[in-house]
Amino acid sequence: MADPLLSVEGLVAGYGGVPILRGIDISVGAGEVVAVLGANGVGKTTLNKALSGLVKASAGRILFNGADLTEASPGAIVEAGLIHVPEGRKILPNMTIRENLELGSYRRAKAHRKQNIERMFTIFPRLRERAHQLAGTLSGGEQQMLAIGRGLMAEPSLLILDEPSLGLSPLLVEEMFDLITQIAADGLACLLVEQNVVQSLEIAARAYVLENGAVTMSGSAKDLKSNPDLEKAYLGI
C-alpha cells in the first residue's frame, strides 16, 4: 500500500506540560474523507492544533506528504498544504470578505489568487454578493463558509475542518455537509472533526473515535455506524 497522505504516530501534546493527547495514531489517505468523532473536551481541537503547529508535540511524529512536520512552524505547515479551518471560524472580522479570501493565499497558491477567489464565489455565491462587506457582519453560517473558502484559497492537499456545523441551524447544518461532500468529491482529502456523528459518518469513508485523548475505536464508517459501542463511547457511558 502507498504511504498515506497524513500519518500521525504516537502523538503526545497538551498545554503547559499537561498532556491532553496521550499517544494518537491516525492516518488519512490521498483524497480520503476521514472523520474524528468524540464528545466535548476529549481533545479533538488539541489534535488539530498539534497538526497545524499551534501546539507543539512532546512525543510522536507527524508525517505529511513525505515530510516530517512534527517540529514545523504553522507557516511551514500551511506551505506544505495542510490547512486547518478552526473551530469558531477565526475569520478576520475587521476585514472585508475579499480580503479574508486573499489572506488565505498569503503563504500558498498566491499566483492563483484571482482564479481561486472567482472559484470561491462560485462555490459560495453568498460571499460574492457581500465581497466588500466586513466579515464581522456575516451570519454564523456565512462566516463558516468564509472560513472554509479561506482554507481552500491555499489549494490544500489536506483540509482539516474543526466542527464546521457547530452553532448552525439544522437547515444550515444540512447545507454545510452537502458543501463538504461537494468539496471532497473533487478529490480533496478532508479530516472532518465533528460531534455530529450521524451526518459525519454519512460522508466519511473511515472514522476514529476519541475518548480522553486517545483513539478508542476506528474503522470504516459503515462498520462504525452499526457498532453499538459507538453511542456508548460517544456519550461517555
Partner: protein, 290 residues
C-alpha cells in the same frame, strides 16, 4: 484683542507642528494596535534618530531632508531586529515584560547619549533654516512647510501599505485575530517585527523633519512622545486616521492656546483636551466602542 490674521497664522503653524506629531503618534498607535503594548522606547528612538541626523549634518554635511530614505530604511532595520531578536524573545509572551524591556531600552539609549553628549542642547544650521514663504499676513517657514508635506505623504504611504499590500493585510489580521492569521500561514513574529520597524522608521523620518528647525538633547524625545501619547488616546488607541486627525487638532490647540495663555503654557490646552476626551469619550475620536 487678537486679529484674525494672527489666529490664522497660529492655526497654520499648529497644523505644521501637528503633522510632525502625527508621524510620531503613528508609530506609537501602530505598535499598540498590533502588539497591544505601549513601546516605551519610542521617545528614545526619536532622540537617537535626531542625534544621527545631527552627526550626519555636522560631520558629513548631509542635509536632513536628503537623509530621509536612509534613515527610514536604517531605522526600519533596527526596529525589526530589536523586536525580532531582543524584545520578542526576552518577553516570552508576556506583555508586562515587553513594557519593562522597552523601558529598559529607553533608559539605556538615553544614558548612552547623556554619557557621550551630556545634557547640552544642540542644533544644526541649514542654509534654508530661516527661509520663509510670505503669505501677506504672515510668514511660513520653508522647512516646516516641507516637513508638513513629507509627514502627510508618509502617513498616506503607510495607509496604502496597510490597505493594499499583503504585508499590510497581514498586519491588520494579526492585530485582530492572531490564531486566524497564523492558520493562514502568517508568521506572527515577523509581522510584529515589521510593525516595530515601521514605528521606528516613522520616528526616524520625524527626526529628519525636526532637526532643521529644532534642537536635540538626550531627553528630547520624551517631550514629543508625551504629546504623541495624548494624540493616540484622543484619536483612539490603534487608529491611524485617529492619530493623524488627533495630531492636527493637538497642533492647532497648542499653537492657538499659546497665543492666549503664554508660549510656555501652550501644552496646557492639550492636557485639558486630553482630560475632557477621557471623560466624554474614553475610546477616543476614532476608537472602536467595545
Amino acid at each position: 484683542m487678537l486679529s484674525p490674521d494672527i489666529i490664522l497664522a497660529a492655526v497654520l503653524n499648529g497644523l505644521m507642528n501637528g503633522a510632525i506629531y502625527a508621524l510620531i503618534a503613528l508609530g506609537l498607535t501602530l505598535v499598540y494596535g498590533v502588539l497591544h503594548i505601549i513601546n516605551f522606547a519610542h521617545g528614545a528612538t526619536l532622540t537617537a534618530a535626531m542625534f544621527v541626523v545631527f552627526i550626519a549634518f555636522t560631520v558629513f554635511g548631509i542635509d536632513p531632508f536628503v537623509m530621509i530614505p536612509a534613515m527610514a530604511l536604517g531605522f526600519f532595520g533596527v526596529g525589526y531586529a530589536l523586536q525580532r531578536f531582543v524584545v520578542g524573545p526576552a518577553a516570552q509572551g508576556s506583555d508586562n515584560n515587553v513594557l519593562l524591556i522597552t523601558l529598559g531600552l529607553s533608559i539605556m539609549i538615553e544614558n548612552g547619549l547623556l554619557a557621550v553628549f551630556h545634557s547640552d542642547t544642540r542644533s544644526i544650521d541649514v542654509p534654508y533654516g530661516f527661509s520663509s514663504f510670505d503669505l501677506g499676513f504672515t510668514f511660513l517657514s520653508v522647512p516646516k512647510v516641507a516637513g508638513f508635506g513629507v509627514s502627510l505623504a508618509v502617513a498616506l504611504v503607510l495607509w496604502v501599505i496597510l490597505i493594499r499590500t499583503d504585508t499590510g493585510k497581514a498586519i491588520r489580521a494579526v492585530a485582530r485575530e492572531r490564531m486566524g492569521a497564523e492558520l493562514a500561514g502568517i508568521d506572527v513574529e515577523h509581522i510584529f517585527a515589521v510593525t516595530f520597524g515601521l514605528g521606528a522608521a516613522t520616528v526616524a523620518i520625524a527626526a529628519c523633519l525636526l532637526m532643521p528647525t529644532f534642537y536635540v538633547s538626550p531627553r528630547i524625545g520624551n517631550a514629543f512622545v508625551l504629546v504623541a501619547f495624548t494624540i493616540v488616546v484622543l484619536g483612539g488607541m490603534g487608529s491611524i486616521p485617529g492619530a493623524v486627525t488627533g495630531a492636527l487638532i493637538v497642533g492647532i490647540i497648542e499653537s492657538v492656546s499659546g497665543l492666549f495663555l503664554d508660549e510656555s503654557l501652550g501644552q496646557l490646552g492639550i492636557f485639558i483636551l486630553f482630560i475632557l476626551v477621557l471623560l466624554l469619550r474614553p475610546t477616543g475620536l476614532f476608537g472602536a466602542r467595545t
